[in-house]
Symmetry: C2
Subunit: 137 residues, 2 copies
């Protein structure tokens, strides 16, 4: 297999996902960055600002502003940390949960759609390949 060709195809696939995701996010009235925050809080559950900033790959200053806006939209909230009064836990509101689940389902539908022509065996192979590639990050 030619590495050039494979590299090009991986990038192409990545670009397609990005375009799809941008479209889905825009329809939900959120920005990409806001959606990303909701995704992580949805998957991780209550999480500290510091840890969330690291996962998003932004500074805490950036995150403060970002959480301000999401809190204003009533999608998540700051809850004072029980044992550290400098800190907050960020968690989804009910409205935030709904948005998260909606987005989660969109992804699930896309996966099912993409898998229509895959045999059970092919799906398993793809799954293992993705896992194997991720070992290199």
């Amino acid at each position: 297999m030619d590495a050039e060709e494979l590299s090009k195809t991986i990038i192409e696939f990545y670009e397609k996902l990005t375009t799809w995701e941008d479209g889905v996010v825009k329809d939900s009235g959120l920005t990409t960055s806001q959606n990303h925050a909701i995704e992580i809080v949805g998957h991780e559950g209550a999480i500290k600002m510091r840890k969330l900033a690291d996962k998003l790959g932004v500074t805490t200053g950036t995150l403060t502003v970002s959480i301000d806006r999401l809190e204003k939209k009533a999608l998540l909230r700051r809850v004072p940390h029980k044992s550290d009064r400098r800190s907050y836990l960020i968690e989804l509101t009910e409205k935030g949960q709904k948005v998260f689940k909606m987005h989660h389902n969109h992804h699930l539908n896309l996966t099912r759609e993409m898998m229509t022509d895959f045999s059970e065996q092919e799906q398993a192979t793809l799954y293992q390949s993705l896992k194997k590639m991720m070992e290199h990050f």
Copy 2:
């Protein structure tokens, strides 16, 4: 294969690529958006503003500003269109070519790195799977 699990893994893989790409781009002194423009011009060759805007998924107003900045960095230039005086062709400068090739090689290296544990057969299967998934966009 559980669609939930597969969906989760695809997203995970996508996130890893994003983080990797962000790091590479940041090291090059460009923004993600600027890099994206260079990628497309590098792959497509001389291209009209209108077409480039469509491929980037932004308005022409956004692109004008973006190209202004890249022109100031001497990475690409506007060349008047031969038969349509309203229009320009955007092309890479030599410096832009270098940046493009560098980035291209980074991707190639990543692909080779990810493929280290893949047999020839596995690589071909992955390639076909990616192609097949992309038919659904």
